[in-house]
Amino acid sequence: MNEQRRVVITGMGTVNASSAGGTDAVLSSLALRRSAIRTVRTFATDGCPSRLGAEVEELALTTRLHPDVGRRLPRVCQLTVVACRLAVEDSRIEGGPQLGVVVGTEYGDIRSTVDFVEGFIRYRHSGLSPMTFPNVLMSSMAGAAAIAIGAKAPSVTVNQATVAGDLAVARAAALVAGGRATAVVAGGVDELCEALYRRLAQMGALSPMRGMGVEGCHPFAPDHNGPVLGEGATFLVLEDLAYARARGATIRAEVLGAAWGNIPTAPHTARRSRADAHSPVLRLLDHSGIAPRALARCYGSGNGDPEVDDWERALLARDLPDDSCRPGLWPPVSLAPLFGQHAGLGALRVAAGALDVTQGTGPVLVHGIARGGCRTAILVGSPV
């Protein structure tokens, strides 16, 4: 087996519906516990079964982007570039062949895809925009971020429902642990755009699912009836511990381990009864030698989608029965009510865990499960 390096978190950057900035901004938006979910303002929701969303304040983005840079970047790339820059500044890490990027996203740049297609549908050949086309590839955000921060190690994009950000952090930890990069800026981004919002609402994927109950984000609650979309970008700098120490970086926390897996189930389904034969949670605890009782907190991907919430509860109950854990570990903490469902949540969860451990708590588990069975587990602890 390849020698595995230790991985620590040395910086954070976020542009979300609640805040924008480095570690301080992440901390303040978590501490405030104020939901950024409100009625969507940037487009009309007439005739739409859903109305709520967590939108980024435009100034939070535009004031952080030089017009020359922002001009050519579609909004989802702007969010990515700004958050990655903030993380890099927070970390004081330098660009170069040792710095990588991993971007998790659920929807990529739907806006540019629609714009590109609409250009042709409306104006035929004269409506085709060569400038817009590259943004149709989901790898465009990672590409733009790599240019902005000078990241010349692998720049990878991972596409996944619900836990894209978690998966990105896990993959980034593997890149650093395995030596493909000394540091990786990892996290997730999604943007709210009308085309996406309307279609998802039309397909019954948003609260109120099946038109039942009051619209809202209530993970794990009896009245949970679907997710509420948010948008934003949150990135962490994951770094080889030895390098972080050598350059005198501020080490926030250690990623004690990261694992992911799959529970075979039909696409887009979440079945509470489906057990996980190879739980990444158990693999992780076993590998790190940490007992369930040591876990101080658990963050989960449950976002108000009833089937996802229930499945997450069931999976964690099987892996970590009540009597093996400290009281207060259940239900997992969801950040969806604060920021809305988007790929940035995964990194926000890991960031929250990192901030918990800097306050002296024991190790924190960041768990994720998505419709279709992708399951993630990241363990965050205090570096010794």
Binding site: V117, I147, K152, V158, N159, A174, W260, G373
Partner: protein, 395 residues
């Protein structure tokens, strides 16, 4: 530390279904790039592509609700898994990494065009569920009952190669002994229109490394490899198509479409791959090039090859001259081609190469396949905007 072997292959591409059919086409130097039938191409400068033949698609897994790309993925993945002789128990622990870009966009486009044309909601909205690149991993994870780490990687034209490299990392890092890794892309209007808009497509079948080359030809395919820990493979008596000795993944961080003018990221990807493989450039006998046929790529790739191997220091060919640029599948289908090159001792040609570019001082196997016992080969995938992946294979 044991090595990583390739114990299964699966391909569906412009020649048809199956790795055997694929190899037969390559060895014959056949070029299936022809006028597109899947959608209207009126008024576009380049109107050709390497399509998977209609009768082949019709013969794949029953379609009803599945996108074309998902069907290609299923066929290639099933073949790879069967070829490797994997049991349900093996699959339950196997990881899955899929390189993808277009996802089920073709059917999404059908729905959108229909809605726009009629002005009424189209019942085909269900196509949206399969539109994202992650659709293939979701489908395969379910159909093949794969219980290990599942991931969809998007890295432009290097997606297929990156999946193989990142999949191998899971074995190297001791996470799983088995990985199903590959790439998938079906033709889409967006891809066709976009590359036409960028003026990167040749109106005729592409001519990589030719002095008068005018651009790429697009194609579609799905290709999967079963990567396996060598000891694990030996213990169960699995097949051995060759070893994945090493991989390099880099980023130019230069421009969103153009490569670094000196091929800086390409050179690093190849160098890292060689270092990981613990082989020198002199030991590599063949490079399966990215070789898209654009002026810029081929020139830059040649510069990078010269820096790493020296002028004429290695045999080079591009199978994109035959199967076109299969986007996210490219790195994977070219990995399969490289392994079959090692297995058969025949190097697939670069077809349509009649006037070699003097700035590309390599023997590019013009026109006809060449028998040659190759022990060590390298496969390059240099994506749009400088996302690079290089794989080193050994017989």
């Amino acid at each position: 530390m044991t090595g990583i072997v390739v114990s299964g292959l699966g391909v569906v591409g412009p020649y048809g279904a199956g790795a055997k059919t694929f190899w037969a086409g390559l060895a014959a130097g056949a070029c299936p790039i022809r006028p597109i039938t899947l959608f209207d191409t009126d008024g576009f400068r380049s109107r050709i592509a390497a399509e998977v033949p209609a009768d082949v698609v019709a013969g794949l897994v029953p379609s009803r609700r599945r996108s074309r790309a998902d069907r290609l993925a299923l066929a290639a993945a099933h073949e790879a898994v069967a070829d490797a002789g994997l049991s349900p128990r093996d699959l339950a622990r196997a990881a899955l990494i899929v390189g993808a870009i277009g996802g089920g966009m073709l059917e999404g486009e059908d729905w959108y065009w229909e809605e726009t044309r009629t002005g009424r909601p189209s019942p085909g909205i269900g196509a949206l569920r399969s539109i994202l690149p992650s659709t293939h991993a979701e489908t395969l994870g379910h159909e093949l009952r794969l219980g290990g780490p599942k991931e969809t990687v998007v890295m432009a034209c290097a997606s297929g190669a990156a999946s193989i490299a990142l999949g191998a990392d899971l074995i190297r890092d001791g996470v799983v002994p088995l990985v199903l890794a590959g790439g998938v892309d079906a033709l889409t209007r967006i891809c066709f229109m976009g590359f036409n808009a960028l003026k990167l497509l040749d109106p005729e079948p592409c001519r990589p490394f030719d002095r008068t080359r005018r651009g790429m030809s697009i194609g579609e395919a799905a290709a999967f490899l079963v990567l396996e820990d060598a000891e694990h493979c030996q213990a169960r008596g699995g097949r051995d198509y060759g070893k994945l000795r090493g991989a390099g993944i880099t980023t130019d961080a230069h421009h969103i479409t153009a490569p670094h003018s000196e091929g800086e990221g390409m050179i690093r990807a190849m160098t890292l791959a060689l270092d990981a493989a613990r082989v020198t450039a002199a030991e590599i006998q063949y490079v399966n090039a990215h070789g898209t046929g654009t002026q810029q790529n081929d020139r830059t790739e040649a510069l990078a090859l010269r820096r790493v191997f020296g002028d004429g220091g290695v045999l080079v060919s591009s199978i994109k001259s035959m199967v076109g640029h299969t986007m996210a599948a490219a790195g994977a289908i070219e990995a399969v081609a490289t392994l079959l090159t090692l297995q058969h001792g025949v190097i697939p040609p670069t077809v349509h190469l009649t006037d070699p570019d003097p700035e590309i001082p390599f023997d590019c196997i013009a026109g006809v396949a060449r028998p040659s016992q190759i022990e060590l080969a390298l496969s390059n995938s240099f994506g749009f905007g400088g996302q690079n992946a290089t794989l080193v294979f050994q017989k």
